[in-house]
């Protein structure tokens, strides 16, 4: 970016607030404005505010990246385009039949989410391609008949979903060409372009989602583009579900890759935060008011998945593997008919909010428990924040305590443990169940409630270190400006007769050639989906330079043992899909610590034999309050995050900042590293093993 200082702007639109960050000359500025119905208004407003804070001018912004919820909201609220579909004759209902299963096993009245394309808009064309090629040609007359019918149905978008188009896309391409000519105002998504991968339902569903969302997202992006131009800002790049950004023009042409735009940026932000302290194996734990997102990062890279449903619709595109559960700080605690304490999924929301907000909430929430235990202070969000109220919280928890026959404190701890068990389960899903040992990872806790629960969850998972990153309240917006540019493609190359290095290299070369224009100057990553002959679920393996077939098979077997508990040396290994990812890394972003040496590449120094002495406080805590730990009320030190400096704070302690509160339980120590990240560490686990 030459001699001028790069000015990087990131804006994340959330449900309640739109966050902006501006990185300028190693400094980070943040702004929050309420989200508007036309999201582009808040985006521009947040940008204006944060630029003003930095003292720069809009024209100086050199890079702008944006994450949005337009696609997700349109899908969840069913406000997408009027979408028609064209399927192979005899198969027009596949979008509705799905996999023929019911979502809930014990439902005598099963219902499925309405298909995105209602039956009267589902057309069929006489044509057929089979596993060895065309078996029934698509005649010009048939194309005309289908297009004429479509014209009368007046759709805004069309999804073309023909059987075996991943092998031979000719019929889809023909329909696409004619539609582009005859109905130029209608958006067309072709399954062979969106996802050339076998298994028709998942491919069709992804294509229908793309068709349904693209007109809506394109309209939003066009409006945004204009407003941004008027404001003198550069065109924003758009964050995708994969954790990489793409140019606005490409995003407006195909919206399915944008569904997890915001949450993916949070993971990217945690990767950035971890990287600044030299940590690249981490578990991102983002606990908000009503939900919690967890995700695993290995070697500095987010783990991705292509098997996800959003709003009941399978979307088989690569996305950051984020596991979301419906529990957070506002989740309500209740007692079930068997006498067990339960938390969520019901939430007190922002209104009335937890009982301690004093706005009429009568049910006990996780936040009420944290407040009564002394973990949450008397005010939310700093000096001019909301004053919490003790009486309503005591009343709400007292009712539960009486029913359970427990003390108030035990009940409050119980709420934390029950919600914690749900979090642990989610954390296990993305670690243990995917073959990763959580003990090898740092837990990165962020979001309003994450840092209050991080240490407890870490103990459950035998994790010894928790990081509360700098800017933990605007981590998603920060993730925008540090995410790489990224594109992903997949192609089914399964062949019954098998494969070897040459056929794999040939397929990859063809795939790379097909996308050459979009990958200029990019770093390419190649992966292969493999399985034992006869299996039908694949494991994805990295394909390195000049890797032999044997080496690939060994890599596959390694993954297989970890995931399924065995390998089968005598079985043939099949190659099913190849995947290509193009990454264009951004200029590294530096904040705060520019030019300074880091204390340690692995975070702060670990305690050694004399570690106990090193932890003695070199300064006394600025405050204290009574808090409940390990079965008794104790005086816990209270710090503002900004005051810690080089002090090593020993638990029980509580560290407050405007957007979050960090709990340091007894047996844990806390320090701030030079990157501005807060570290919680324990030796408890080692001791209990001994």
């Amino acid at each position: 970016m030459g001699a001028t200082t790069p000015l990087l702007l990131g804006v994340d639109v959330g449900g309640t607030f739109t966050d902006a960050v501006l990185v300028s000359n190693g400094s980070l500025f943040r702004a929050k404005v309420p989200t508007t119905v036309d999201q582009s208004l808040a985006v521009v407003e947040a940008s204006r505010k944060v630029i003003e804070m930095s003292g720069a001018a809009a024209a100086q912004v050199s890079y702008f990246a944006h994450g949005m919820t337009t696609a997700t909201n349109a899908l969840l609220e069913r406000k997408g385009a009027r979408t028609a579909s064209i399927s192979t004759w005899g198969f027009r209902d596949i979008l509705e039949i799905g996999r023929q299963d019911r979502p809930r096993l014990y439902d005598l009245c099963p219902s499925r989410p309405e298909p995105l394309v209602p039956r009267e808009l589902r057309l069929a064309a006489r044509e057929r391609v089979g596993p060895v090629g065309e078996t029934l040609p698509l005649e010009a007359e048939e194309v005309k008949r289908v297009v004429d019918r479509l014209r009368r149905l007046k759709p805004e978008a069309v999804a073309i979903c023909l059987l075996f188009s991943f092998l031979d896309p000719a019929h889809e391409l023909r329909l696409g060409e004619v539609l582009a000519r005859e109905l130029p105002e209608v958006h067309v998504s072709m399954s062979s372009a969106v996802l050339p991968q076998f298994r028709e339902y998942e491919r069709f569903s992804t294509t229908a989602v793309d068709a349904y969302l693209t007109p809506v997202v394109a309209r939003y992006l066009m409006t945004l583009g204009e407003r941004v131009r008027t404001a003198g800002l550069p065109e924003p790049a758009i964050m995708q579900s994969s954790g990489g950004v793409m140019p606005l023009g490409q995003a407006a042409a195909s919206a399915a890759p944008l569904l997890l735009s915001g949450p993916a940026a949070g993971v990217v932000g945690s990767i950035y935060g971890g990287g600044r302290s030299g940590i690249d194996d981490l578990i991102a734990f983002d606990m908000g008011g009503t939900s919690t997102d967890v995700s695993l990062v290995r070697g500095g890279a987010a783990q991705t998945t292509s098997e996800r449903e959003i709003g009941g619709q399978p979307v088989a595109l690569p996305m950051v593997d984020i596991h979301t559960i419906g529990a957070g700080g506002g989740s309500i605690a209740w007692i079930d008919p068997g006498g067990a304490l339960r938390v969520g999924p019901e939430s007190a929301g922002a209104e009335p909010g937890p009982a301690c907000y004093g706005r009429g909430g009568e049910q006990a929430t996780v936040s009420d428990a944290n407040y009564l235990l002394g973990y949450l202070g008397e005010k939310l969000g700093g000096a001019d924040g909301l004053a919490l109220q003790r009486e309503p919280a005591r009343k709400a928890l007292g009712r539960l305590a009486a029913e359970l026959g427990l003390e108030l404190e035990e009940t409050a701890l119980g709420i934390r443990r029950v919600v914690g068990a749900e979090m642990v389960k989610a954390l296990r899903v993305i670690s243990v169940e995917r073959g990763h040992d959580p003990r090898m990872f740092v837990l990165v806790a962020f979001g309003g409630a994450g840092p209050m629960h991080g240490a407890d969850l870490a103990e459950e998972l035998d994790i010894e270190r928790v990081m509360v990153p700098d800017s933990c309240g605007v981590l998603s917006a920060l993730g925008m400006v540090v995410g790489d540019e990224r594109r992903d493609w997949v192609q089914t190359v399964y062949a019954a007769e098998g494969w070897d290095e040459q056929s794999l290299a040939g397929s990859l070369a063809r795939m790379e050639a097909a996308h050459a224009a979009e990958t200029v100057g990019a770093v390419l990553e190649r992966r292969a989906d493999m399985r034992y002959r006869g299996q039908s679920h694949e494991l994805t393996v990295e394909v390195g330079e000049r890797m032999s077939r044997d080496e690939l098979v060994r890599a596959f077997e390694h993954e297989h043992e970890k995931a399924y508990g065995y390998t089968a040396a005598e079985e043939d290994v099949e190659l099913v899909n190849i995947r290509l990812t193009a990454l264009r890394p951004l200029v590294p972003v530096r904040i705060g610590d520019a030019g300074r040496e880091r204390k340690s590449a692995r975070g702060p120094a670990r305690g050694t034999a004399d570690g106990r002495e090193q932890t003695s406080r070199d300064r006394s805590a600025p405050g204290s309050r009574s808090a409940f730990f390990d079965g008794e009320w104790v005086q816990a030190d209270i710090w503002r995050r900004g005051q810690i400096g080089a002090t090593r704070v020993r638990g029980p302690a509580i560290i407050e900042e405007d957007e979050a509160t960090t709990v340091v339980p007894p047996g844990w120590e806390c320090s701030l590293d030079e990157a501005g990240n807060l570290w919680l560490e324990t030796h408890k686990l080692e001791r209990s093993d001994a």
Binding site: G90, F91, R92, D93, E96, I97, R99, Q100, D101, R102, L105, Y106, D107, L108, C109, P110, S111, R112, P118, R119, G130, P131, T135, L163, F164, F166, F198, R199, E200, Y201, P337, G338, G339, A340, L341, G414, R417, V418, A421, V424, K425, V429, V432, E433, E460, D462, Y494, A496, Y532, G534, Q535, S536, H537, H560, A563, Y564, G565, Y566, A568, E571
Partner: protein, 515 residues
């Protein structure tokens, strides 16, 4: 009980459930049989050292009650650490022969503390017909290899004698071996995770939690049954055997926090294969019980304790050896559930009848085995229309993707669409069935096991019945249950039943609704 508090129990119970789920996910992904890998026709569970079910990840309900007997049946073999057991005998812990159970003891230095079990529907277990789902078997031995509770591994070593014998009796032995390996692997995953939990939380606490989670489920179920109106509710429904009807008669007595289900009056076991061993009957009862109470109650030994189920020895739903049973699991179980729902609908508002069959379609030869169950119309509910083309009752298996099917088998799918107009009329309409049509590219044996081909699913509260299903070969209708040889070029078409309607049509309902 040692001092393990309710909160610790919940934390551990959540951990035990996720072990079962992980085991199930590993099994599905590692398996070879289409039935397991694409259709998820399998279940996984943890049992305590006494053989009581503690936690389960069931993918289809028909395994729910039937798993309870699996571990009990191997306890008499003096299990030791390092053993793995296998069984499929329907009269000794199994359901029908294709469902093979693999049971692995999990031990600490103190001894066995639990068992991990998986049950999966294998694509072929030998017997007369490829796919081991003959429509016309009359004795168990015709349906495949019968495996009584047996050591598959001892001291960590495979029982080669058994393996050689078993693999010698099935078609595509390599695929069987792959599936069994996946089942043993899933048991290993469960052992790793449970021992890890014991290491972190202490053996005593984990064992106490197992007891308590069973007691907790029982409390929940008793509370739920108490919420049902007391009374005795009776119903009869039927299964089709040629032109004969076989009767399933049931009475359900709800009394305080207990329930008694009795099948007095049910037809005697038949010469064909619609017979049910008692565990399958229990599964169907537990399914309905869970559905009408709270599916959130942990499915373990406690949840079933407040229910007594009885059936006359030797009747259709309590069959004795050597009865053929292959359709008991897949068809009779559906009808038992239907009859129970019909009875209980006198006590509470419940939906009209759905398709009530699994439409089992098996095509096979020495070269391939293809098995599929096909969804149909759901009964309309008191407040809305029934869903179309969906699985109901005792199964919830996925369909085989057409593109996977055509790449794997010499078959061409000609259509897979809704069967328009098959749902019963009513204030709320029954869901439509589907039409699935396949052309054979090579000769094969066909077995079709389907019901509700003469009697359509009944409507409720004045709603009309759904259209019965039809089986067609080259456009000509055949019986609901047939086994025959087909040639290349032949077309098999299955039209599945529509669901019953709910409520009489009132004049105001005739105003066209917005589509």
């Amino acid at each position: 009980m040692p001092n393990v508090d309710i909160i610790t129990v919940q934390v551990l119970s959540s951990a035990l459930r996720s072990i079962c789920e992980e085991m199930g996910a590993a099994l599905v992904r590692a398996a070879y049989s289409t039935n397991i890998k694409e259709r998820r026709d399998c279940s996984t569970a943890l049992f305590d050292a006494r053989g009581r079910l503690v936690a389960q990840a069931e993918h289809i309900p028909v395994h729910l009650g039937a798993m309870l007997d699996a571990v009990t049946s191997i306890l008499s073999l003096d299990p030791e650490p390092g053993d793995v057991f296998i069984l499929n005998d329907p009269f000794r812990g199994g359901t029908h022969l294709p469902d093979i159970s693999v049971i692995s003891p999990i031990a600490t230095p103190a001894g066995i503390i639990a068992y991990a079990a998986s049950r999966a529907h294998h694509a072929d277990v030998g017997g007369r017909e490829p796919g081991s789902m003959p429509a016309d078997s009359e004795e168990l031995s015709e349906e495949g290899a019968v495996i009584p509770p047996t050591r598959l591994m001892a001291g960590g070593r495979i029982n080669q004698g058994f393996m050689d014998d078993f693999l010698g009796r099935v078609r595509r032995p390599q695929e069987r071996q792959g599936d069994l390996r996946a089942q043993v692997g899933a048991g290993r995953i469960a052992a790793r995770r449970l021992l890890d939990l014991v290491g972190r939380r202490g053996e005593e606490n984990v064992l106490a939690a197992m007891d308590e989670v069973i007691a907790y489920a029982e409390r929940r179920m008793r509370a739920a049954i108490t919420g049902l109106p007391d009374g005795v509710y009776r119903a009869e429904d039927w299964l089709e055997r040629g032109n004969q009807d076989l009767i399933i008669a049931v009475s359900v007595k709800v009394e305080g926090d207990k329930m008694v289900v009795d099948f007095e009056g049910t037809s005697a076991q038949e010469a064909g294969n619609l017979n049910c061993p008692m565990p399958v009957t229990r599964s169907a009862c537990y399914f309905v019980l869970r559905a009408i109470t709270d599916p959130d109650i942990p499915p373990n030994a406690g949840a079933t304790a407040p229910v007594r189920i009885s059936a006359p020895r030797g009747c259709l739903v309590n069959a004795r050896p050597p009865a053929a049973v292959v359709a008991g699991n897949v068809e009779t179980s559906q009808r038992i559930a239907d009859a129970l729902v019909l009875a209980l609908s006198q006590a509470m508002p419940l939906p009209a009848q759905g398709q009530g069959t699994m439409n089992n379609l098996t095509l096979g030869s020495d070269e391939f085995n293809y098995y599929e169950t096909i969804g149909g119309g759901a009964g309309a509910c008191p407040d809305r229309d029934g869903a179309s083309g969906i699985h109901l009752g005792m199964t919830n298996t996925l369909n085989t993707p057409i593109e996977a099917l055509e790449m794997d088998f010499p078959l061409l799918v000609e259509s897979y669409e809704f069967r328009r107009g098959s749902g019963g009329e009513g204030r709320h309409r029954g869901g439509d069935g589907v039409v699935r049509s396949l052309r054979l590219l090579k000769p094969a044996r066909l077995s079709l096991l389907a019901d509700r081909r003469r009697h359509g699913p009944r409507g409720a509260a004045g709603g009309a019945q759904g259209l019965p299903g039809r089986n067609l070969i080259n456009g000509r209708e055949v019986d609901g249950k047939v086994t025959l040889s087909l040639n290349a070029g032949d077309v098999v078409t299955v039209e599945t039943p529509g669901g019953g309607g709910y409520g009489e049509i009132r004049s105001q309902d005739l105003i066209p609704k917005k589509q």
